[in-house]
Symmetry: C2
Subunit: 304 residues, 2 copies
């Protein structure tokens, strides 16, 4: 299986503590790194997770609250000091470029590389990134300001050729691409060789969904149905449900409900309120609803 991993850089909420950094994650898909959110200290946690800046070309910002983007200036500045030349793409809801521009032009005067901002709509799901093997689609969320989660989905890869069978039927090289993509082979004598004899199916495409920050939104289960890994915010415990509603956040049990309704394989919860010294209360409440739940923590790495 090719690499598809999630690195947690920070999983605290608005108030950083001695236990948690502000929100940031890195998704590693076949050694291309994608950052999701960039709270203060993300560049430090990035290094601590032994990730390579040169592999990072895209950053996705869920919404414009400080605990999700105050680390951008430091990161951009560090990449400049390191002499980066590759473009860096930052995807976010409207307004980020305008906000950062004066600081960037003052603090990063002679840029060795370009930072390109891409603003996305937050009302409807939209594909905001695509390459040969991956798509990233926004997941509209409901928070105190425009906010989206992100769905990272591998594309279905072509079938694997069974070398021995292809040799046996003397299939010409120029036919191989068609066969990889599922077509049968017709010999010069007109005999049809079924594709299933010539190929093995490739691995099933995997997917990862990131949902933070948001009030409980059961309707997102539809969009994230069957993902292999779901990160969902679980800022509060059941006892603080009124506070969760008021601040447009989710409880751990509600995160479990979403995971269950969506039939995901695994749930990782994070964005913990600073009030919980021991997050096991959150783990228990989510696990009671959806047993395959783990707690996020700094430098944790999960396979998708």
């Amino acid at each position: 299986m090719e690499k598809f991993e999630l690195h947690i850089l920070g999983c605290g909420s608005a108030l950083p503590t001695t236990r948690h950094f502000a929100t940031s994650q890195v998704v590693n898909v076949r050694d291309k790194l994608y950052m999701i959110d960039c709270g203060e200290g993300s560049q430090l946690q990035f290094r601590k997770s032994r990730l390579k800046f040169s592999r990072l070309n895209h950053i996705f910002i869920s919404h414009l609250h400080g605990d999700h983007c105050f680390g951008l200036l430091g990161l951009i500045s560090t990449l400049n000091l390191l002499g980066r030349t590759a473009e860096l793409h930052i995807h976010s809801p409207k307004g980020l470029e305008t906000l950062l521009a004066p600081m960037l032009s003052f603090f990063c005067r002679q840029m060795t590389y370009k930072v390109l901002f891409h603003e996305f709509e937050t009302k409807e799901p939209g594909m905001i990134y695509e390459d040969r093997s991956l798509t990233v689609t926004t997941i509209p969320l409901r928070h105190r300001m425009p906010c989206c989660g992100f769905l990272f989905a591998e594309k279905q890869r072509p079938n694997h050729i069974i070398r021995e069978m292809v040799d046996f039927y003397e299939v010409p090289v120029y036919e191989l691409n068609r066969i990889k993509n599922g077509e049968d082979y017709v010999t010069p004598e007109g005999k049809t060789i079924s594709n299933s004899l010539l190929t093995r199916p490739s691995d099933l495409p995997r997917s990862y969904a990131y949902c933070s920050d948001t009030i409980y939104m059961p309707e997102i289960a539809e969009q994230i149905k069957g993902v292999d890994l779901l990160f969902h915010e679980a800022t509060f415990a059941n006892a603080d449900l009124p506070r969760a509603k008021e601040t447009f956040h989710t409880t751990a049990a509600q995160a479990g409900e979403i995971a269950k309704a969506a039939g995901v394989k695994k749930l990782v919860i994070g964005h913990f309120s600073a009030r919980y010294e021991d997050e096991n209360v959150l783990l228990k409440e989510a696990s009671d609803v959806f047993p395959e739940t783990v707690l996020a923590k700094e430098t944790l790495c999960l396979e998708v």
Copy 2:
């Protein structure tokens, strides 16, 4: 002795590493906290050092490079979330308020407290803070942009009254303030009682000097003569002297020279370049010139 301590929150230079945070320190004078510089992650280190935000009212920024001020937004934002009401004063060279204003007004919409910016001249030393027991004076430095260090000096405190002697001579209460401040006492019979019989001298005033970032400036020895503790940047080792000059930084040996010429009691060096895995090379080079040298490190606390 009343409290006068230095807490190192971060002592790396422009490129943060897994070993060092960007520059920030806290000076604790009788439980009032003064922050010097505020690199990314300073609020995290502040908590880790078990300091109290409620005791912090003044922040001094040496110059407007990101590694000395990118932590301000996160800190200001956190204090707001905590419901702070006391004013926060930020002292810096010109330009900081203008730079931060758009970000502050977007990210900290409903402020529970006021942030007041005070801009200082960087060419001549100037007293920028004073209270009953302390003054803070700028130390003009030479860097790639306007930059100042800071001299924290305790004021001479009044003498201590010797209770037994005052009772013996039946000194009236209204005379005590004059006597504390060094005057003799004249009895109703016209006899002069020497002040030295009535008081013990108070502790000598202590002082701390912070000098970072700067090219080697032997002339600052004059202004920081005899300080109890000197923090001086020592970004580079001797072998990288040309790089130090080029980037307007100091070597460890040069920091030692300054400490020696100023006759300080103790030198702490920091602002280490990321290139040194082992900073003992810097410690050795500074100690060879000035033996009373220690290396800064995160969460280190030194008595002044």
